[in-house]
């Protein structure tokens, strides 16, 4: 088993953190994991993405041509990465910002209004965890509880412990949202 995910969006949307939480959770669950960021020289803004691989054997390249899943947090990210997702893969798309549908018919599209959900939770910055929650349900290799634990570990390291509760709620809302588009899980 080897599953790869590309998280992509604007700098500031929490793309890199979302990927890190997934990778850390995978590691805690006993999988081999890699997390590799890609960003430009800008201090803020610009585009950012990261690739996460979770596998049950040692991982060679931390980069993949065709990821099993994509989290597209903005329009350019969907345009850029949609064609690369494997057949039968998953695309979680931030429908708050991306005003077009996923064109591929051979993938599972999960549109999630992350901005609206985050606003309802009272913290616009948790959009990344909403998207991650949806992805985790579609991916089905790491349980939501493991993601919540890994999220708390990531935030604790940055002395943002007080943000754990709202981020947990964001993960759960995203997880619930994905249920609308997935029959089995």
């Amino acid at each position: 088993m080897e599953k790869s995910v590309v998280f992509a969006g604007f700098g500031g949307q929490g793309i890199l953190l979302a990927g890190k939480v997934l990778a850390r959770a995978g590691m805690n669950e006993g999988f081999e994991v890699t997390w590799l960021p890609s960003y430009g020289p800008e201090m803020r803004g610009g585009t950012a993405n990261c690739t996460v691989i979770v596998a049950d054997r040692p991982i060679g390249s931390p980069v993949v041509d065709s990821p099993d899943a994509l989290v597209a947090m903005n329009f350019p990210s969907l345009d850029k990465f949609e064609p690369r997702v494997v057949e039968g893969g998953t695309i979680v798309v931030n429908s708050s910002l991306v005003k077009r549908k996923v064109r591929r018919s051979d993938v599972t599209a999960i549109p999630v209004p992350t901005n609206e959900i985050a606003a309802e939770l009272g913290n616009p910055r948790v959009v990344n965890m909403v998207a991650l929650g949806a992805l985790v349900r579609a991916l089905g290799i790491v349980p939501l509880e493991a993601i919540e634990t890994a999220m708390a570990e990531e935030l604790r390291g940055r002395s943002r412990g007080k943000l754990v509760a709202v981020n947990r709620e964001a993960l759960r809302r995203g997880f619930g949202e994905a249920g609308k588009y997935l029959r089995d899980r």
Partner: protein
């Protein structure tokens, strides 16, 4: 109360030196932790992407173990400060990327000439110049070998994962003390920025510094022992020593004659080359029956292994030779392997630096192909496979 302490409480060094356990860590952080575990208590550097995470980690961690972090005015100063700290008796390290590595070259020469143990890390990015600051490169491999002035030998190690970055940094400190010489960690942006599982062991050995046994007055500071390495008296040890970049005799005094120079430079080289078997490390995968040998290092070697596996799936007998020790180059091992195979493919993120070394070591007798990229991304396994197939075609 009169005995109220003025100075801050010294940290409980033993608790914090080795962060035993499993961590989710990138290569940069692993290098910092490897250094601290190995006993490094001095780090001077200037921030540069993709090295900054090393500096960040050292700035936070060194005070916890009673160490010193200094952000210097530039990389010339950083390397100079590291030399000074080593002569002050501590284990010292600096870290940079390509452009800063160039600025350190003059003082790396000074460290070689003054036989100063220290560790220098280069997290390589797309170059020349500012190039691609946030993206990967492996273009400093020859700079590591010949970037400083004069003729010298240098030890350079190249990790392929954060775990190995930790392990090799520990070993680099041991080699620096063993040979009284600067040791280079030649890593890259991907290994530096990639997070993986890193397991830090319960015990990490601290290599001792070889101190003089002769009393002050009877100690020639550059009189080598049998293994060509002289013991090192540091500031505060009670010895009067003269540390100079000028060619010097055993007493450390300038000796301006060609014979003294030839003798000194030969010893500085030979103290490393004669004992190279102690630290020539590599890893072979599927080489036993290989017809095509793929040679690579650092992050490129992981991709290359993917290419070798693709080739095996297609019935091509390919194998991987991953260099861990880059310098001195393992000529003899590659020469022997080259005698058994029909072609060699070299994979690296430059346009053929280690390729030339492999060609030289293998005597140019068998077909070779380079799978090169100037920087900005790592290869794909498919590109490596294409190189393997190409070298097979020119063989038949």
């Amino acid at each position: 109360m009169a005995d109220k302490p003025i100075a801050h409480q010294p940290p409980r060094v033993a608790d914090k030196r080795i962060l035993t356990g499993v961590h989710f860590m990138n290569g940069d952080e692993a290098i910092a932790e490897g250094a601290i575990a190995a006993g490094c208590t001095f780090f001077a550097a200037y921030p540069i992407t993709p090295q900054s995470e090393i500096a960040e980690r050292m700035a936070r961690r060194l005070p916890q173990v009673g160490g010193v972090f200094i952000q210097m005015e530039d990389e010339l100063g950083a390397m100079a400060a590291v030399i000074g700290a080593a002569w002050g008796g501590v284990k010292a390290m600096t870290a940079t990327s390509g452009p800063g590595f160039s600025l350190m070259m003059e003082n790396i020469g000074l460290a070689i000439m003054t036989e100063t143990p220290c560790v220098v890390v280069d997290v390589q990015r797309g170059a020349p110049s500012t190039g691609l600051p946030t993206l990967v490169g492996q273009g400093d491999m020859m700079q590591a070998r010949w970037g400083s002035h004069g003729h010298y030998e240098i030890v350079a190690l190249s990790p392929a994962s954060p775990q190995e970055a930790f392990d090799l940094t520990v070993k680099a400190f041991a080699l620096a003390e063993r040979f009284r010489a600067p040791v280079l960690i030649m890593t890259d942006e991907v290994v530096g920025h990639m997070y993986e599982r890193v397991e830090i062991p319960g015990e990490v050995p601290m290599a001792p510094r070889r101190k003089p046994e002769a009393p002050p007055g009877e100690f020639p500071p550059y009189q080598p022992e049998e293994d060509l390495v002289p013991p090192m008296a540091c500031a505060g040890d009670g010895y009067r020593i003269h540390v100079t970049g000028l060619t010097h005799d055993e007493r450390g005094y300038p000796a301006m004659d060609p014979e003294a120079h030839d003798k000194l430079v030969r010893r500085l080289c030979e103290k490393i080359t004669r004992f190279r078997d102690e630290f020539t490390w590599w890893e072979e995968s599927m080489t036993e029956d290989a017809e095509v040998l793929v040679v690579s290092y650092g992050i490129s070697a992981r991709v290359a292994l993917g290419g070798v596996e693709l080739a095996r799936e297609r019935g091509i007998k390919a194998g991987l030779f991953r260099l861990i020790t880059i310098w001195p180059f393992p000529d003899e091992i590659l020469r022997r392997l080259a005698e058994r195979v029909g072609g060699i493919v070299v994979v690296e993120i430059n346009l053929g630096q280690i390729y030339r070394e492999v060609e030289r070591a293998s005597g140019g007798r068998i077909p070779m192909r380079g799978v090169f990229h100037a920087g900005g991304r790592i290869h794909t396994p498919e590109e490596v496979l294409a190189g393997i197939e190409e070298v097979l075609r020119c063989r038949s």
